[in-house]
Amino acid sequence: MSKPEETCWTLIRDAAVGDARARTDFAGTYLPVVRAYLGARWASGRHREQIDDAVQDVFLECLRGDGALSRLDPSHQGRFRTFLFAVVRNVALRYEERQARERVKRAPPHAAEPEALPARDARLSRIFDRAWVDTLLRRAVARQEAAAADRGEAALRRVELLRLRFAEGLTIREIARRWEEEASVTHHQYARAREEFKDALREEVAFQHPGLPGEIERECQALLDLIE
């Protein structure tokens, strides 16, 4: 998990200057998003086997000295999601155009396939957004866990409580029975655990979208909108 003062922009800049930890974190965080988008874009067809190469190209484009990051206004602290989406989409288009050109060279003009430039960007951006949300939510859980590890056994138990509730589908009463405690106690812990999760998600959103508390709250709401 990232350092407290870090944002996605400091992470990417550290990664760009060769910080190994930042590079690992960067790739580990955004790889699922990039892969999900490219996987959906090239779900069938000849590009599928190029997904690995394209993922590499996206990271290269983000990290190399003269890449997309260098063309960004240094004062710009906007949505990293938008930035990453632009990069991944450009890389995908580059692959598709290159292949289309190859095909045009080899085949008569009427053989050029219109599917080479897909007109389904809206659906694809939705897939990207979903993958983005999933990544942030997973990172929020990891944040909550890391914080709980510092706070102690009771905090870790609250994370487990959320897991039992949402991953195992147990009711609070069932959890209370399993833990051999009063349901009211479990309910109280559950409410606290939810607040801790919300805080963790806000921290994660602040990491991805540095800004004032109001902006972060708005971004959080936007994230919840994307789930619906």
């Binding site: 580990g28 590890a149 959320l162 949402f166 939810r194």
Partner: protein, 772 residues
């Protein structure tokens, strides 16, 4: 929005956040046992307080393996992370013990090859049962179907850490040799089960708190085939250790991919010579560990981006042997290290068992020597006492005389034995020095070999030696001096291929001058005279000269008469049948034979010079040849010899001459050539041209702008260092044309054409640019 609605949105978020975190069914024995009296009370033994705590790099779970229970294991933290796995510390709740749990990192788990390698590591660890190998307890799947395996958790330090903490290299040497002996014995067992480790180094040897020594990290291990690598059929049936790769789904290439740690790698590993990897590859690494115990440094020292990579690929071990030789260790030990660190694997000890035996013998001899020294001291003491007693008794002159005679006789025999022992010791010392010299010689370090033999020679001036030793020293000295002289002569010739600062356009002239320096003039001498001149050298030098001649003959600007002499004279002295066929095919213009030789390249690797010659032979006049045949040969060659600059450079150049469909290939190889010779201006110019040759550079858009800018920077770089370079001037003109400055572009190339400085293929480029 109502509060209920808002909370419901958060419910959805948390559901997604915790999705996939479903705990696996608690299949632990304690979890499944439903005893009426409740779960059995766990037995927990007293914890041993150890000096070194486990270096957990972080506590709790990770993104790959969240904290919490996974079956019977509670993840406690991360110990280490590498490309092939993350090692976690976990608690086995059934047995109440801590274990090391290895899981695949997130990025790898989708690749079947990585999963197979991971499972193979577990299977190898599971089947190798030896006190020196960390036992694998269990192979399983986590809740998200990620494979893991658990192993014994070792508490201790790596040999690497222990060695680097020494204040003095001689400190505790015997202890480290005992550790090394155990490593050798462990590896002897692994070799007997047909497994080579491939990444042996001090960092992969754990020395436990109670002195136990274990070889760890079998992630690079390879399961050998029965009866040697050639016997593959039988191996597939009868591997001693059975793994997923030895099963029907296995792939040979994966088993042989080049892996290991460069500072300790055997030459065959770094060269990717997968067929050659066997027990002796580990023996080389064992030599590296021994060298580090003796000298404090690994086999190769340096930075991969510097000369280290070249030293490794050339098997240049001179520096390593020098360090070993200069260490304060006994000659026997130096000899073991030198034998293990032979560049030619066939000359190394056959397997780790042989090394273990030699080390054990050495350690026993140390003990014997120590015992003998004690015995001698005791005898001395006893003798002194008896002498004192004798003095005190002084029982008469007659008896004294008799005693003197007896003692005199004893002294004579004692002196004779002492002289013989000195003779043997000197001979052994000289033999050991000669062996070291042989090692230098084998790595081509002839001057060092001569110096080392001279050291042996100085021993002969002052001490007597056994018969034959003096002659041996003289023979070796003469041989190495001859080779050292030849080496000096070869240096000028081989500079064309290997020196980074060589002017690429002057290769032909450099060869002419180089051969003239050794008394061979291809301009004026006949083929017979040239062959006779070549035969005057040792067979090894002839082989190298022949390769240089092939390289020379493969160049485009060689005059036809000289080219014929090169080919004919090389065939006179070169016994290699494949190369003879190639040259005959060239002389007879036998295209069919050339094509069949090209096809045979896939079966048997050939030296880079022969591949370049074949590619040259397959290159026809530009109007009749599209370059496909030559490019195919060059591509294969570059795959066979990935570190050979000329193969990449020639592939790039050939691709440039035939740009249709080859632009990307040309660019790729130009980039590799540039990486191999980063400071060569001509390579930069060619790289710039390959960038310009791509259709993308001409078809508009941001990509084209970037490409032109990159190409332009290459040409400018070249012209700064080599202002008249025609390629760079043409390229720069191309960039000007692309920027719409056609008149300037035209003037630049017109000037070049007027000066008649553009080589024929460069003229082609000019025309192409002007057409655009």
């Amino acid at each position: 929005m109502s509060e209920a609605r808002e909370e419901s949105r958060w419910d959805d978020a948390m559901e997604r956040a915790f999705a996939g975190r479903r705990a696996p069914v608690d299949d632990s024995v304690l979890g499944r046992l439903k005893l009426k009296s409740g779960p059995p009370h766990p037995v927990l033994l007293r914890q041993i307080s150890v000096r070194e705590e486990l270096p957990l790099v972080r506590t709790g779970g990770s993104e790959e393996v969240p904290a919490g229970k996974h079956g019977r294991y509670q993840v406690l933290g991360e110990i280490a992370r590498g490309g092939l796995g993350i090692v976690l510390q976990a608690r086995d709740s059934d047995l109440g013990r801590d274990v090391a749990m290895k899981v695949l990192p997130e990025r790898d788990d989708r690749r079947e090859a990585d999963i197979s390698r991971f499972i193979e590591e577990a299977q190898i660890g599971g089947q190798l049962q030896h006190p020196g190998i960390v036992p694998v307890y269990e192979l399983g799947l986590l809740g998200n179907d990620r494979p893991y395996f658990t192993m014994k958790l070792i508490q201790g330090r790596t040999l690497s850490a222990l060695l680097s903490d020494r204040a003095d290299l001689a400190e505790d040497r015997r202890r480290y040799l005992r550790i090394f002996e155990q490593v050798c014995q462990t590896m002897a067992y692994a070799h007997s089960r047909g497994v080579v480790h491939r990444d042996l180094k001090p960092a992969n040897v754990m020395v436990g708190t109670f002195g136990e020594v274990q070889v760890i990290d079998w992630g690079c291990a390879k399961v050998l085939l029965h009866g040697g690598v050639a016997d593959e059929q039988r191996a597939r049936r009868e591997n001693d250790v059975l793994t997923v790769r030895s099963g029907p789904g296995g792939t040979e290439t994966m088993a042989g991919s080049a892996i290991g740690t460069p500072a300790y790698m055997a030459p065959e590993q770094i060269l990717g010579d997968t067929e050659a990897i066997d027990e002796r590859t580990d023996v080389f690494c064992l030599g590296g560990i021994l060298a580090e115990i003796l000298t404090g440094q690994p086999t190769y020292v340096g930075d991969l981006s510097g000369g280290l990579a070249q030293a490794i690929t050339r098997g240049d071990l001179g520096e390593t042997w020098r360090r070993v030789e200069e260490s304060s260790a006994d000659d026997d030990l130096k000899e073991i290290a030198a034998d293990c660190l032979r560049a030619s694997r066939l000359e190394r000890p056959r397997d780790a068992g042989e090394v273990a035996k030699r080390i054990s013998t050495y350690l026993s001899s140390l003990e014997t020597r120590a015992r003998e020294a004690e015995l001698k001291a005791a005898e001395e003491k006893a003798r002194a006492q008896s002498e004192r007693r004798a003095k005190r008794l002084a029982i008469g002159l007659g008896i004294s005389v008799v005693l003197a005679v007896i003692l005199g006789g004893g002294s004579y025999f004692h002196l004779r034995a002492k002289r013989q022992a000195a003779l043997t010791a000197t001979s052994r010392e000289v033999t050991s020095i000669l062996l070291m010299a042989k090692n230098f010689a084998e790595s081509g370090n002839w001057n060092h070999a001569v110096d080392t033999v001279r050291r042996a020679e100085t021993r002969l001036h002052t001490r007597a030696v056994e018969p034959g030793t003096r002659q041996l020293v003289d023979t070796r000295l003469r041989e190495y001096q001859t080779r050292a002289k030849e080496e000096d002569l070869l240096r000028g010739i081989e500079a064309v291929r290997f020196r980074e600062d060589v002017d690429l356009r002057r290769a032909e002239e450099s060869y002419t001058e180089g051969f003239q320096a050794i008394g061979i003039d291809f301009q004026s001498a006949s083929v017979d005279e040239i062959a006779a001149g070549l035969r005057a050298f040792s067979p090894e030098t002839v082989e190298r000269l022949v390769r240089a001649i092939d390289d020379w003959a493969s160049r485009h600007r060689v005059e036809p008469e000289v080219a014929r002499k090169l080919i004919e004279s090389a065939n006179e002295v070169d016994p290699d049948p494949w190369r003879q066929k190639l040259r005959l095919a060239m002389l007879n213009h036998d295209r069919d034979l050339l094509t069949s030789l090209a096809a045979s390249l896939t079966r048997t690797p050939r030296p880079p010079e022969s591949i370049l010659l074949l590619a040259h032979a397959l290159t026809g006049p530009p109007e009749q040849d599209d370059g496909t045949a030559a490019l195919e040969v060059l591509k294969r060659g570059a795959r066979m010899h990935p570190g050979d600059f000329w193969l990449h450079f020639r592939t790039a150049m050939t691709g440039l001459r035939h740009p249709v469909g080859n632009a990307e290939l040309s660019l790729l190889h130009a980039r590799i050539a540039q990486a191999l010779r980063p400071d060569n201006p001509q390579v930069r110019a060619v790289l710039g041209l390959t960038i310009l040759a791509r259709p993308e550079s001409w078809e508009g858009g941001a990509e084209a702008i970037e490409a032109i800018a990159e190409a332009r920077s290459q040409f400018e770089w070249t012209l700064e260092r080599s202002p008249g370079d025609p390629m760079a001037r043409i390229g720069l003109a191309g960039c000007l044309a692309r920027e719409g400055r056609s008149r300037e572009a035209f003037e630049a190339v017109a000037e070049l054409l007027k000066e008649n400085k553009a080589p024929p293929h460069a003229r082609e480029f000019i025309h192409r640019f002007l057409r655009r």
